[in-house]
Amino acid sequence: MLPVNLAIFIPFIAAICIPFMYRRMSRLHLGWFVIAIPAIVFISLLPYIKPVANGETFTYIMNWIPSFDIHLLTYVDGLSVLFGLLITGIGILVTLYSIYYLSKEESLPHFYIYLLLFMGSMLGVVFSDHLIGLYVFWELTSISSFLLIAFWYHRKGSRYGAKKSLLITITGGFAMLIGFIMLHTITDSYSIREIISDVGTYTDHALFIPTMILILLGAFSKSAQFPFHIWLPDAMEAPTPVSAYLHSATMVKAGIYLVARLTPIFASEILWFYLVSGIGLLTLLWGSFTAIRQTDLKALLAYSTVSQLGLIMSLIGVGSLAYYVTDSTAVTLFTQAGFAAVFHLVNHSTFKGALFMVIGIVDFQVGTRDIRRLGGLVSLMPISFTIALIGSFSMAGLPPFNGFLSKEMFFSAMLHVQEANIFTSEALPVLFPVIAWVASLFTFIYCLIIVFKTFFGKIHVDEERIASEPKIGMLVSPAILAMAIVGIFFFPSGLQQNILVPAASSIYPGIDLSHLATPISWWHGWNTEIFMTLGLIVCGTLLYLGLKYFMNVYKLFPTHWSFDTLYNSGLDRLEKSAATVTNTYMTGYLRDYFRYIFIFLIVVTLGVFFYTGAFSFTLENDSPIHAFEWILTTVMIIAAIMILFAKSRLSAILFNGLLGFSIAMFFVLFRAPDLALTQLVIETVTTALFLLCFYFLPAWVGKETDRKLNIPNLIISLGVGATVVLTALSVHNGKLVDSISSFFENADELAGGQNIVNSILADFRAFDTMLEVVVLFIAGIGVYTLVKLKGKKEVDK
């Protein structure tokens, strides 16, 4: 078996290879190379299925930052295998589809690099056991999603959608990171596995609830839960393969994965149930309700994805009650809800993937996906129609498609919520099945819209080209998914035994799940669930026929009170106020920036000094001053002040030279012969350099501005000077550690040199010297290029 941590890296490595591959294989579509990658990973994951189904788990570890206990820790269990297979399996189909969807004129290397980047990071998310590793891969999926949405970056909508999705998911991601770090503080571990095995020891911690909320924020924003769902419809600007892959089948399920994965940790707190199932149901209702009014087929599918994600989320929420109840029959019921979540997750990937691909085909062949301009395609595109029909009816929850099975489970889970006995009011548990039914009704209606508005009715003849079936290769992927939809309905047991039950068992470690092994059947007799479905079909059909009247309901909701408006105006205001604030202090004038820096220095340093009372001053430790030093000091102070008042540049430069030579004298007094030598020579060269440039720079004559005393500048300068003096005096009088210089005094034995300074430079601290030489060299190159590199204009002169 290939270690999973290596499997994660296969897509990344392939992404690096693509630019080199692309040059070589200009004939063949790049997708044919890329399709091998998910296939390899898929095949390498297959051997894990059997052992994992038998309850084995695998861990692999790669050190990353061992000193912070951060590793690339991967963990294989039922849930991660399910997601891994889903990511790579759908990945294969999507890549195949994209080969026909994207022509060779598009910038294919970009597309496939982003796609592989996404694939690798998504695999990283589901296989990471380490919280920090998970977070890193999590953000990488956001970034690759951003890049893919903006793939057609010349479109305004693409850029807008990309930015929106990035802002929302990354903000959620930050919240999640804080949550993870808090979780680490609470439990003192980064490994999810370890945290789960320690469950019960930390639930009383004060940070437990905040941690939960922060992590849920991340999961909800990623999985487009209400009110963060607004990014998903705008993300539909991405190429259709991307929408099918990232924004329905895999990436948006990362949040669900996380919630499912962390359920054992948080489920003992009842708030977890309320938040997850409540937000899930709200999303389900709102998403399906909004989907009906959409006219763009992809937007419709986006809202339907939102609502379906809400459905899965609410199922996990109800499933988490299994940790709360004690009665064993209730535990059985609620673990079935968790199982239903996993099952519907797979089903959703199949039917939504198929639907997206079919809509992509319609868009590709007809040139529009506006349902007002579509119709009557059934005779022109019969195969596409069949697939769309299968996908939609599966989503609507009709037999004989897999959606029916999971929808029935969903209804029964919602009906059983009341058995948890956690509610104080009678009405609350009734609300669950009611909302579920109403939302399913809306789902039924928009499924009908997809099928009937697109494929039946009048053919619109305003299109230039006559629609027809696409190339056969484009139909392969959706057809495979459609077959899976029907196949799962008739033969669910293989999937159930090998993948779904192991996945559910990772949500419920330590709970007996043997009842889940009973084969899924589609007929349970005339129970409440089947009547709910029948009611759905009758009411749904009636409402669809009266859709014109139903649409009036939407007029009740004012358009400018949506979350989209809130997001847009919020972003707009943020940008404007940021610009206002920035423009007030970013004047573009160098002096102002220097002033900020100096004032900051004064305030912070002196502030700390006065706050901590660190200032101290004595004359006791001072060595005596000789006459020569007095003279030199006086000369230097006078020279320095004379620079300020120098009437010409020449005198200023000469005073500067005088200062430099005086310092060389000081070095002599301080018994530093090397320094004195160097300072003398360098001062000579510097002065020569100043004088050289002096030729070319304008004279100071007539510059009234600088000679005048500038009072604010003077105050700042005095402040800086005072800060330096105070700091230096305090430091001088309060030596905290001994000098390390005695070590260097063994230079003769250690470095074979009697000159200690030289030994430090060339041996003990040779690294500094090396970098210094490099810096000097860079400065030299800089000067050379500045002088020699000229604009076109000047060369022409």
């Binding site: 423009n583 573009g588 004038y589 002096r591 220097f594 002033r595 100096f598 001072d622 060595s623 005596p624 001053i625 000091t633 230097m636 620079i643 300020l644 200023a652 500067n656 200062l659 430099g660 310092i663 000081f666 301080f670 018994r671 530093a672 012969p673 320094l675 360098i682 510097t686 350099l689 440039c693 720079l697 304008p698 100071w700 510059k703 501005t705 600088d706 500048n713 700042i716 300068s717 005095l718 000077g721 005072a722 330096v724 003096v725 230096a728 005096l729 001088h732 000098s739 210089s741 260097f744 005094e745 009697q754 300074v757 430079l761 601290r765 210094e772 810096v775 000097l776 400065a779 500045l786």
Partner: protein, 112 residues
């Protein structure tokens, strides 16, 4: 002695800051040069003036002046030379290209 040196470097820093805050390019460069001098004196002072011998091992006993600040200053001298040269050429080229060495005229425009 140490106090005197610290005050001297304080004066140099004050003058340097004032020069850096002025509008003329050459004055700013002179300011940076002065700042370097000030920091050298400060470094030297922080090392203390304890020893009596130059830091060269050999016949003269073992009471050496602290060698570490000297090595630091030596590095600093050379780098500051490189930086000063770069600044000078930068302002010289700026003047040739843009016709001014006045920071106020050279300032960036709003919303640029």
């Amino acid at each position: 002695m140490e106090t005197l040196m610290i005050i001297l470097s304080g004066v140099l820093v004050t003058v340097a800051t004032y020069l850096i805050l002025s509008r003329n390019a050459v004055r700013i460069i002179l300011g940076t040069a002065l700042l370097t001098h000030a920091s050298h004196i400060l470094l030297m002072t922080m090392g203390g003036f304890g020893g009596t011998n130059v830091p060269i091992t050999g016949e003269n006993g073992a009471d050496y002046v602290d060698a570490l600040p000297q090595a630091l200053i030596l590095t600093s001298i050379v780098i500051s030379f490189g930086v000063t040269a770069f600044f000078l050429v930068l302002s010289y080229r700026t003047y040739k290209e843009l016709g001014s060495d006045d920071m106020y005229i050279l300032r960036g425009r709003r919303n640029e």
